[in-house]
């Protein structure tokens, strides 16, 4: 049976891992390559390197960081932040990433999803969507959550999948950094309407939050940062917890 994936996110700025609380107030938490090795050893299923300030500062995701992170890593690695063009994507993939996540660039140039999917395959193309509750629906924000767009999260996810995205990385702006739990309603709403996997992000605080987003939230994968950063053995303990709850997970041999 297909396992639910646990994905550790390394929010990277200037080569260091930082963790944002609602995208602001960053504090240093470590060296990305060192953290990647630790997570790999703990049995994480996948890693995401997110250059959190790349879009704002018009910087490219650092190929150096990717090379270091991927050097001895044999699990999927996604990079996001600052992927604005096919060239940016090519540089990231050449540096060792398996997938690129596009957020603002996909909103501004949806055709980029298609051209990247044609060149590298849909499995290498992730659409990252930052969504915020607005009445009964969810609005999409660009530029690291700072700019409201006219898009609706469910419709944009569906369009992105049609255009070639192979996965949705769905972040709840309302929950991000709060440790109050994933937005399972948002995740379920998107997951029910797209044929591709949905990665829930934003709000992880307890093991129970993961169980909930995998069941009620219909998430295919869940992404977190600080839950994994500050506690060693969290990955293994979380997987054992999920298995006991009946959630299928990969237990490393």
């Amino acid at each position: 049976m297909l396992s639910k994936r646990l994905i550790a996110c390394l929010d990277v700025r200037d080569g260091c891992v930082v963790k944002g609380v609602q995208f602001e107030g960053l504090t240093t938490a470590g060296d990305p390559a060192e953290l990647a090795r630790r997570y790999d050893g703990e049995g994480i299923d996948e890693l995401v390197v997110l250059d959190v300030t790349a879009t704002v500062e018009k910087r490219r995701a650092l190929a150096d960081t990717l090379r270091k992170v991927s050097a001895e890593l044999f699990i999927p690695l996604t990079v996001g932040g600052g992927i604005r063009s096919e060239d940016d994507a090519a540089a990231a993939l050449d540096a060792g990433a398996d997938k690129v996540a596009l957020n603002t660039a996909a909103l501004e140039h949806p055709g980029l999803l298609t051209s990247l999917a044609r060149r590298y395959g849909s499995q290498a193309v992730v659409v990252a969507i930052d969504a915020k509750r607005a009445g009964e629906g969810y609005e999409v924000f660009s530029h690291s959550g700072r700019t409201r767009t006219p898009r609706n999260a469910v419709e944009w996810a569906r369009e992105a999948a049609e255009r070639g995205a192979g996965e949705v990385l769905l972040t709840s702006i309302d929950r991000d950094g709060t440790r109050a739990g994933f937005d399972s309603e948002l995740t379920a709403a998107v997951s029910a309407h797209v044929p591709i996997p949905v990665i829930a992000s934003g709000g992880a605080g307890t093991f129970e939050h993961f169980a909930e987003v995998f069941t009620r939230g219909r998430a295919d994968a869940a992404l977190a940062a600080s839950v994994f950063h500050f506690s060693e053995h969290a990955v293994g303990a979380l997987k054992a917890f999920l298995r006991d709850k009946g959630v299928p997970v990969r237990l490393p041999c």
Binding site: M1, L2, S3, K4, R5, D40, D45, S70, A71, E72, F74, I75, P76, L93, D94, A95, G96, D98, Y120, G121, S122, Q123, A124, G166, E167, P195, I196, P197, D220, A221, R250, L251, P252, C253
Partner: protein, 210 residues
Amino acid sequence: MIALIDYGAGNLTSVRKALAAVGAEHFTPSSPTLVRSSSGIIIPGVGHFLATATITADWRHAILDAVSRGIPLLGICLGMQFLFDGSDEAPDTPGLRLLPGRCFLLPAVVKVPHVGWNDLQPRGESRLLAGVPRGTQAYFTHSYVAPVTDACVATTEHAATFASVVERENVFGVQFHPEKSARPGVEILRAFVNISRFPDFQIQKCSPSA
């Protein structure tokens, strides 16, 4: 020396890295004649079956000739599907026809593409899986699958039961990505590299089925 066939379907960085990790020398042949001098051949690849059309007749001939001389061949993901007769994904593009059967689209009763870690259910003897414990999961990302035939030594389930590992004589294939499947994946690649290195590796020849 392992020949890694680059036909533009996806990025080979990860496969190269994994081969380096198991101490395997490898190269990307720039011409079909160079395939002959390899000790093993890997056809990686992701994406649409149509991409295999760029493996032109001279390349196909060189690969089939090497296989007929006993050189081990490993297809990964799309490269494994290419070992078969063909795929519904691109009906006019023939496969290598080293294994009988036609690849088909997973029914959309669950999410397709099939992305993530899933079980390998052993089904008979396997040289690739010899060093991998039971209960191992591997990382998949694909929508089309190969049928379960006599060559299938492990199956996986996602909407349908499909072949996740195939072996017939010196022809091997894995639907998952060993280069992305943590330690067990690296061990599977190591097994293939060992098979390609074994100096007295004398096996029955495998010819195209049609």
